[in-house]
């Protein structure tokens, strides 16, 4: 099931926990993967672990010119880009009343504007080949909101609205656009929370545990697969029941 042999996939934020797991899942299903991120070392380590069918494509998504170049680099390296996973994301948490314009702009730029540009760069080839899969990694907070994350929640909700609009436009060309909204996943990003914060969040998760990066990767693998060809404009919530949407 879920055979991606012969397909090519670009994954952003592949140096992080969830992105790395997504790259492994797609690669494990047979895809050639382009792994992107700002930190080269973890990307090289991941590439060494995966072995063949892997290309390291470092990119700083806060650099507009680098973002525009990335799809071209990915296509040059892999020959095509059938699957795009916009997973990269940053947080600059602050109370709304204390949030600086800079904190707002940084998060919107990397999480939402870069996603827009990468989608645009990927579409040409996908429309031509009449097959494409775009999976945007949103977040539960895009649907529920979260104190201290006005910028991050806005960007993640924005990804969902953008995905749906694009899904309308390209559905007739065999290109699907979906979002995956992770809940509380054990990664370096959530490690920053203190025990009190973690305890409070745990109490809200019916499953009684944090999710794993592999559980997000499995959702992405499904949406990237030929089997999910009739699923578009959807948001797949993977959150242990934390919010049943």
């Amino acid at each position: 099931m879920f055979d991606l042999t012969g397909k090519t996939a670009l994954i952003t934020g592949a140096s992080g926990g969830i992105g790395g797991a997504i790259a492994k899942a797609l690669h494990g299903a047979g895809a050639t993967v382009g792994i992107s991120g700002t930190r080269v070392e973890p990307l090289e380590a991941l590439a060494a672990e995966l072995g063949d069918r892997v290309h390291v494509l470092p990119c700083n998504l806060s650099d507009a010119a680098a973002v525009e170049a990335l799809p071209k680099q990915a296509i040059a390296a892999m020959g095509s880009m059938d699957i795009l996973v916009n997973n990269a994301g940053i947080t600059r948490d602050n109370l709304f009343m204390r949030m600086s314009d800079e904190e707002w702009e940084q998060v919107l730029n990397v999480n939402l504007t870069a996603t827009f540009k990468l989608c645009k760069g990927a579409l040409r080839g996908m429309m031509k080949s009449r097959w494409g899969r775009i999976v945007n990694i949103s977040s539960i907070v895009g649907a529920t909101g979260n104190p201290g994350q006005g910028n991050y929640a806005a960007a993640k909700a924005g990804m969902i609205g953008m995905s749906k609009s694009l899904a309308y436009e390209v559905a007739s060309r065999g290109v699907t656009v979906n979002a995956v909204a992770p809940g509380f996943i054990a990664t370096a990003m959530t490690d920053k929370l203190n025990d009190d914060q973690k305890g409070a969040i745990m109490g809200q998760i019916p499953a009684g545990r944090m999710g794993t990066p592999e559980e997000i990767a499995a959702a992405v693998l499904y949406l990237a697969s030929p089997e999910a060809g009739y699923v578009t404009g959807a948001t797949l919530h993977v959150n242990g029941g934390m919010a049943m949407l």
Binding site: M127, K128, E169, R173
Partner: protein, 77 residues
């Protein structure tokens, strides 16, 4: 008919699945040849590849008819 016009016509016929004799000078892609807005984007992409030229978005919006396309491409080459 010029070489450019022949090549443009071939792309239009293939992409929109219309009869060749419908593709005349004043034929509008959307009103006469049944294209939707996404088809026009794809046609421009196909022209760019066929002729090795870059058609900026604002120029693409002015290409409404078969004649517009032939004229633009002839001048761009």
């Amino acid at each position: 008919m010029s070489d450019v016009a022949d090549r443009v016509k071939k792309i239009v016929v293939e992409h929109l699945g219309v009869e060749e004799d419908k593709v005349v000078e004043n034929a509008s892609f959307i009103d006469d040849l049944g294209a939707d807005s996404l088809d026009t984007v794809e046609l421009v992409m196909a022209f760019e590849e066929e002729f090795g030229i870059e058609i900026p978005d604002d120029a693409a919006e002015t290409i409404q008819t078969f004649g517009d396309a032939v004229k633009f491409i002839t001048e761009a080459q």
